[in-house]
């Protein structure tokens, strides 16, 4: 095993150890905040997977995040106390009553035209399953359409961007079913196998940490497979790959779907931690922000993109403590992005890689000339 390889594995292990040790260092509010950042870290990984490894810049990743979030939020909404107190035996979301036609029955089936869509969500498992299945199915369908037609580069970005805006519009417009701009608030807690995930508990934090760790390891393993290597080959030259017999679009769809699945899970976790789902998840700015995290962290480094997401958010939280800097933050992050693109296009991950190589080369030199005293001392 090469030194670089060992270092990589060590970096992953160290990162995972740190996030699992973090609860020792802060109170529950801090923990809740860090949980959110871990979720953002998952988004960083999802972006790096498609952007860095497949060359597909998805400017609408918020779509998959938002769909995952809404699916679970619907289930959690129905398990909230308020939904149970609307005067029916079975839960009904409060916002549906506020806008109900006079005389409409207080039942999910028929309080308004679309409310029946909520019926399956009385089971939390349905929300949990759909939170990953729906993003995956939509990504699959979209991918088939886009990649089969050999659309690539900036056009994919534009299509994904347009789609997230479209879905956002629909979500806001379907107010009776989605509560429009206000999103879904006042949610119950996720309960799996008797464990209640109080958003301020360590259990919830560990859930996020575990999901992020699994995502990182899983994504890393999958890009290490032959399929991952072929995907990178396709990124470099899809024509060449085609002439080697690979059905390029299938590889692109496959990894696009995985990325969407990760974003869907991230969306669900965010709902558990933040206790709301909102159409802002599908704002263009959020999807672009994810790309900035990945760019700063290093789009071709899964761990780098993940750390980029977490670091930027930690810095942002620090900065927003200072009144004067709150307004300036957008400008600061924009500036960081421009500087990174100009001066370190491979981001923090790329810098770490270069530094490591430099050390490795020095060590090799040291080994090659062991007789030179200054050099061995320097090591």
């Amino acid at each position: 095993m090469s030194i670089e390889r060992k270092f990589q594995i060590a970096a992953y292990m160290l990162f995972i150890a740190v996030i699992f040790a973090a609860p020792v260092f802060g109170d529950e509010f801090w923990l809740n905040r860090i949980s959110k950042y871990l979720v953002y870290g998952m988004l960083g990984v999802a972006i790096a997977l498609t952007w860095g490894y497949a060359g597909i810049l998805n400017l609408g990743q918020g779509l998959f995040f938002g769909l995952g979030a809404y699916m679970l939020a619907m289930s959690l909404k129905l398990s909230s106390l308020t939904s149970l107190q609307q005067g029916s035996d079975r839960p009904v979301p409060d916002f549906m009553l506020w806008n109900a036609e006079p005389g409409a029955p207080t039942e999910l089936c028929c309080i308004n035209k679309g409310s029946f869509l909520w019926l399956p969500f009385q089971s939390q498992s349905v929300g949990l399953v759909l939170g990953i299945v729906l993003p995956v199915v939509i990504a699959g369908a979209l991918g088939m359409l886009v990649f089969r037609k050999r659309i690539s580069g900036v056009f994919v970005s534009i299509i994904t961007l347009a789609l997230v805006l479209l879905v956002r519009l629909v979500m806001v417009d379907a107010q009776p079913v989605t509560n429009g701009f206000n999103g879904l608030t006042d949610l119950g807690w996720l309960t799996i196998g008797g464990i209640e995930f109080d958003p301020y508990s360590r259990a919830t934090y560990y859930l996020c940490a575990a999901c992020l760790s699994l995502t990182l390891i899983g994504a890393r393993l999958i890009v290490e497979t032959r399929a991952g290597m072929i995907l990178q080959a396709i990124r470099d030259d899809h024509v060449r790959a085609r002439y080697l017999g690979f059905d390029v679009s299938l590889y692109q769809v496959f990894f696009f779907v995985i990325s969407a699945g990760i974003a869907g899970v991230a969306g669900m976790l965010y709902v558990v931690v933040a206790e709301f789902a909102s159409p802002t998840f599908m704002d263009l700015s959020f999807s672009v922000t994810m790309v900035v995290w990945a760019a700063v962290g290093g789009r071709s480094s899964l761990l780098g993109a993940c750390i980029g997401a977490i670091l930027i958010n930690m810095i942002e939280a620090e900065v927003s403590e200072t009144e004067a800097l709150v307004e300036a933050w957008k400008a600061i992050i924009g500036l960081i992005f421009v500087l990174v693109v100009l001066f370190m296009p491979r981001g923090l991950g790329g810098v770490a890689h270069d530094v490591l190589r430099w050390f490795v080369r020095r060590r090799k030199l040291g080994k090659a000339f062991p007789a030179l005293p200054q050099q061995s001392e320097a090591l």
Binding site: R226, M229, A233, R235, D236, R240, A241, L244, V248
Partner: protein
């Protein structure tokens, strides 16, 4: 007579009224090395585009052995046994030289079949053999982007060898090469001879003499002549149309 590996039958393509390839028929036998000669713009690259599926023909048919591959999608033509080297060398720039060859070494093209790690000993030794054959052993861990022009060409040739297609299309494999590089390329191609059926576009007559058995001359999208090196060099139509201006070098 041995089997026919590649049949091009009355192939034409129409680019909005302009016939870049017009009613071309060529048969190449199993294990043969055929050189495609012709001035710039004669339609040699376009013919390869038609055979390999990059461009759709408007008329005619292409067969690999008995399989009709006319206008199939590129990856299916590749799987049917046609490999191609481009005029502008194309390799996977951000992968290492070894990885480039490994990608070509994934015989099963499906995604799920490739969800596994590493390569068997036989597969690895195949890659090593090709590294040796193309003289890229020292560069095996280097990013393909950092190879010289000649090395990039050899890497692409190496990928073809690993891919092991029945029919190999080579579009100007020595373009832009020094004499020494050209000689080495001829060696590599001669090494392929017999094991693969090869159709190669080439300008360098010295190189052609070194590798060719039969030559097909293309002129203005049509087949002008076909024969041995001597036949072609003596053919008055060829001299007039193509060689006359420059003479055979």
């Amino acid at each position: 007579m041995s089997a026919i590996a590649l049949t091009i039958d009355g192939l034409s393509v129409d680019f909005g009224g302009f016939r870049a390839v017009n009613n071309v028929s060529i048969t190449v036998f199993d294990g043969e090395l055929r050189v495609l000669l012709g001035a710039n713009g004669a339609g040699k690259t376009t013919l390869m585009d038609l055979v390999s599926g990059k461009t759709h023909s408007t008329q005619g048919k292409v067969f690999v052995y008995d399989t009709d591959i006319t206008n199939w999608p590129e990856h299916r033509i590749a799987r049917a046994g046609i490999g191609r080297k481009f005029q502008i060398p194309s390799v996977f720039r951000d992968l290492t030289v070894r990885q480039n060859l490994q990608v070509a070494n994934c015989r099963n093209p499906s995604v799920l079949a490739n969800l596994r790690f590493g390569f068997s000993r036989a597969e690895a030794s195949r890659v090593d053999d090709v590294l040796a054959l193309t003289g890229l052993e020292a560069e095996h861990g280097m990013m393909a982007a950092y190879l010289s022009h000649g090395q990039t060409q050899w890497l692409e040739l190496g990928m073809l060898i690993v891919q092991d297609p029945k029919v190999v299309l080579l579009d100007e494999p020595t373009a832009g090469m020094t004499q020494a590089e050209t000689r080495k390329t001829a060696q590599i191609i001669n090494n392929l001879k017999g094991r693969h059926t090869i159709l190669v576009v080439e300008h360098d007559m010295g190189f052609v003499r070194e590798i060719a058995e039969r030559i097909t001359v293309l002129h203005l999208g049509e087949v002008l002549a076909e024969g041995s090196v001597e036949d072609i060099e003596r053919n008055p139509k060829v001299r007039e149309a193509y060689l006359g201006s420059k003479g055979i070098s």
